[in-house]
């Protein structure tokens, strides 16, 4: 139980402490209680609430299915993804398609996740640390499944609301997002048929649906307005297929990031096997990489008032001028804008990046 108490004997001895006696403070800081808050007996006690799974001493149950019984009936880990994320058993064709997608998402050479894993491995860590780090490489450019998927859903809703055809909605989407990294159409797969083959397989298995249909229209629209050759890329193929399999954009993001992490374990292992560990202070950055301010003497501390420059801006005009100046300092962050919003429902749909 908690033990909230006033402890006036402590507060009385303190005297003035900084600005804590200011009348601007929202309450009297010298009369604040000590101790912890008692348990709330008026509400139900805390429990881990879940729609996904529960377990007891003898069972683990996901979406109503005992997971051991699921495996004993001959299902597998790929089926479990449908159970966990969609609360349903997939058709044989859906399971086959997800296997296909996951194989294609497993390995991607020395791309971000593998590099993250290898860099963490160089520090002599657990393998799990490297695998976890690799997941952090998935954002709204690389592995932009939620950004792409949510955009598709938004424009499909728009089409429905405004009575647009798929082709018209695709043209609108392309016109408004042509330069975005998560368009699903780019010049990345002009020589590699893997993306197109994935759609062929989805159609053969009978799992292709409205999302694959829509991205095909997007490809047409992008080709019509792009100056350079473009085509369906792996982001567009993979994500549209996952959406047609019934996964949400966020579930797709999660499943494919984890899928890639299975491979980065091998990259961790290879890095440890073939390369050495890196020590603190070992890595040098050559002077020729540097284009910041020239080397200069540190002013004596006693001269601080002579050399120091205030960063305070007292007028909006002053602020605007200072901001433009600040943008010139690479690494300061002033030239980047981000919209940090709650990504619970949808993520990756806001434009972020360089100003």
């Amino acid at each position: 139980m908690g033990n909230l108490t006033d402890k006036p004997e402590l507060n009385a001895k303190k005297g003035k402490i900084g600005n804590l006696d200011s009348p601007k403070n929202p309450f009297d800081y010298m009369k604040r209680e000590y101790g912890t808050v008692p348990l709330d007996t008026k509400r139900a006690p805390f429990q881990w609430v879940s729609e996904v799974a529960y377990k007891n001493v003898h069972r683990i149950v996901s979406r109503g299915y005992d997971t051991t019984e699921v495996m004993e009936e001959g299902y597998g880990v790929v089926d479990m993804l449908f159970i966990d994320y969609q609360a349903r058993i997939p058709t044989v064709e859906e399971e086959q398609m997800l296997n296909y997608v996951m194989i294609m998402a497993l390995e991607d050479g020395l791309s971000g996740p593998a590099v993250m894993s290898r860099i963490v491995a160089q520090s002599k860590t657990f393998l799990t640390q490297a695998c976890g780090a690799s997941i952090l490489a998935f954002g709204h450019a690389y592995g932009a499944y939620s950004a792409f998927g949510n955009r598709l859903e938004n424009y499909l809703k728009l089409a429905e609301a405004e009575g647009l055809s798929m082709a018209q909605a695709a043209e609108r989407l392309v016109a408004e997002n042509l330069q975005d990294e998560a368009l699903g159409v780019s010049d990345l797969m002009l020589k590699d048929p893997a993306a197109v083959r994935m759609f062929a397989r989805a159609e053969k298995l009978g799992v292709a649906g409205k999302y694959i249909g829509f991205i095909k229209e997007i490809v047409k629209a992008a080709k019509a307005v792009s100056e350079a050759p473009v085509d369906l890329d792996m982001l567009g193929a993979t994500c549209a297929t996952m959406l047609d399999l019934g996964f949400s954009p966020e579930a797709t993001w999660a499943i494919l990031a984890v899928t890639r992490s299975f491979a980065v374990g091998a990259h961790y292992i290879e890095e440890v096997e073939r390369e050495g560990y890196r020590r603190t202070g070992q890595t040098l950055t050559p002077k020729e990489f540097y284009d910041g301010p020239e080397d200069r003497p540190v002013p004596p501390l006693r001269d601080r008032s002579k050399v120091a420059q205030s960063g305070i801006c007292h007028t909006v005009d002053e602020w605007a001028r200072a901001r433009e100046e600040k943008k010139k300092l690479v690494g300061s962050g002033h030239s980047i804008v981000e919209e940090i919003e709650d990504p619970s429902q949808k993520s990756g749909i806001k434009k972020v990046g360089k100003l």
Binding site: R43, G76, V77, D108, L127, G132
Partner: protein, 298 residues
């Protein structure tokens, strides 16, 4: 567009060109088109080989039962991180990195098995003899025997024995299963002789045995398990993000929330006055001399 690799490395795992992505010599598209499963691809990735049908089934089973485990450190980690509403990958990364020396210590179990099987070979002992030596050495030293015991499934992990049975059903019994079975036998016998309660095999003890048997290294097996759990932890985080309350402390929810203030129980030093700066040196010197603070140092 810059398409150069982010770092320069010789690698025997894969290469990727404008035309194709090749893993251990196999074009990924060809592998998928041929109808191989994701589990098959993991054998190619970690073992450079196409597995037998039985081996593929074993991996599919093991990963399937391991994937979802409701509230374990990994799911709690994911849910805890989701409270601040970062991007979803952060919650998954947190979940996977909870796997360490206690939660799902697959590599530790694998290294233990390899070490003692190697000793059996070098010392000319049988698997059964060496398993007893392992149990005695670990228990004499007061060390937990990897793969035994689970704090929630106190009558033995419900996934564990079925994994052993599946391995046997598929005809995949080898030196690892023989060793693990012997380990469990001697472990149970010793605890019984000492009048201690029954502690069953856990999913690492059985699942990792199966993974080692079908050729995965300790770290590869650990990767398969801990990363696979990431799938379900992401679902738990996503549920909380889409249907739960951010922050986890709302007083308007009918149930007390995860980090409601009343969830805090404090057992540290008593409340005390912050010393004035003018008293600081004397106060600090005295505090160091008395040394009472040391019992709180962590």
């Amino acid at each position: 567009m810059d398409r150069d690799p982010l770092i320069r490395r010789k690698t025997a795992i894969s290469y990727k060109t404008e035309e194709k992505t090749v893993m251990r010599g196999y074009n990924l598209s060809e592998l998928a088109e041929e109808g191989y499963s994701f589990c098959d691809a993991l054998f190619v990735m970690y073992q450079n080989r196409i597995p037998t049908e039985e081996e593929e089934k074993m991996l599919k089973y093991e990963m399937g039962v391991f994937m979802e485990h409701s509230m374990s450190p990994s799911a709690v980690g994911a849910i805890g991180v989701s409270a601040g509403r970062p991007n979803l990958p952060c919650t998954i990364a947190a979940a996977i990195t909870t796997f360490g020396g206690v939660h799902g210590p697959g590599a530790a179990h694998g290294y233990m098995l390899n070490k003692y099987i190697e000793r059996a070979e070098k010392e000319g002992r049988t698997i059964d003899e060496m398993a007893k030596i392992l149990v005695d050495e670990y228990m004499d030293a007061g060390r937990p025997v990897m793969g035994m015991g689970q704090p929630q499934h106190i009558d033995s992990d419900p996934r564990a024995e079925p994994i052993h049975l599946k391995q046997e059903e598929l005809g995949l019994e080898g030196v690892y299963l023989e060793f693990q079975r012997a380990l469990e036998k001697h472990f149970h016998a010793r605890r019984k002789a000492e009048g201690r309660s029954y502690v069953g095999v856990n999913v690492v003890g059985s699942g990792n045995t199966a993974l080692m048997e079908i050729g995965f290294s300790p770290n590869a097996a650990w990767c398969l398990g801990s990363v696979c759990r990431g799938f379900s932890c992401a679902a738990h985080a996503l549920f909380n993000m889409k249907k739960g309350r951010a922050w986890g402390a709302s007083r308007n929810e009918p149930m007390v929330q995860m980090i409601d203030l009343s969830m805090i129980k404090y057992v540290g030093p008593d409340d005390r006055i912050v010393p004035k700066q003018e008293d600081r040196q004397e106060y600090a010197r005295k505090q160091k001399e008395e040394g009472e603070y040391k019992k709180w140092v962590i």
